[in-house]
Chain length 133, copies 3
């Protein structure tokens, strides 16, 4: 069993906090101890965990990636979105988070972000909770 969640990005690049949605799914799942897997089934989007307090943090990550990747090379891929593919591989398609006592074991300042690199688009991410024995 897994969950397919839809979201809409509204910009070319955007970090969307999906922590609250994942916590709600976990709460409803009845899983108490184990692992959560968050997976992004796109090749120009990713998932990352970073600071949830000051939005300048994810904006700075986005800015760094854009400045260093968008015009850094002569890319050959004819769709013209190679920078988005590169960012997706650098940040990664999945994150694993532990579950204990029915709670996601995130640090105080950690949030889980869907990273859009080639928007705006309708996107999907998958969530699965594995109960340990």
């Amino acid at each position: 069993m897994y969950h397919r969640i839809k979201l809409n990005s509204s910009c070319k690049t955007e970090f969307i906090d999906i922590t609250a949605s994942i916590k709600q799914l976990l709460s409803a799942s009845g899983v108490t101890d184990g692992l959560a897997c968050i997976f992004v089934p796109h090749t120009t989007a990713a998932v990352t965990i970073n600071e949830n307090a000051d939005p300048d943090v994810t904006a700075d990550i986005d800015r760094f990636l854009t400045v260093n990747i968008d015009n850094q090379c002569k890319y050959h891929h004819s769709e013209g979105n190679s920078p988005a593919h590169i960012k997706a591989s650098l940040l990664g398609s999945s994150e694993m988070v532990m579950i204990d006592g029915g709670e996601l074991l995130l640090g105080t300042w950690q949030g889980i972000y869907f990273c859009e690199f080639d928007g705006p688009r309708q996107r999907t991410y998958f969530v699965k909770f594995i109960q340990e024995n």
Copy 2:
């Protein structure tokens, strides 16, 4: 139980699509729902998920990494392959993919790639499927 798969890279850097091999192993395993873990036990190779349609995409990722890492710093490691180690840590040693109804839950355009950064060599990757209860 896990699978050890050997492969031979043929270039210095190369992205080798291992999706079909992993799907065959999954099919034979009888695992219907759970998680697949793909792990690369090398320090100058990695695994990533990205576009499986136009080979220019992985070629552009490779080109970006080479242009930005190979001669970017004065490296100290005496074997001279620090760029390959850096690329390995940036793309990562493992990927997790969900399994549902006996199928790998990849997006339409996603393939799983063994990333060679210091070839050509004989290499190995590990695959494990975890059945959920």
Copy 3:
């Protein structure tokens, strides 16, 4: 059940080998086959797997990140540690390693590193072992 391990970093940036501690925890856990998850609950630290033989390798990874991130952009986050947040997202918050016959399935030259990017500080990492059926 999971383990919370404390450590103290002693520099601004530092790669600390935590492989031996994780092996000890695994040994004491009685888990024989499955997956190990290592998770860093901080937003300016990360975990990576790379060479455990020559310390110049992790020093070169650290040097590359510093040279390319620390002064690459005009960052807006007022705490001034955006480079540490960017490095954390690039290397990632978690690693998954297989367990077989009571052993961590690492390659010969692989070690697991806690990556400090904004030290020195007291830090924590989490370890969980999942036994497969």
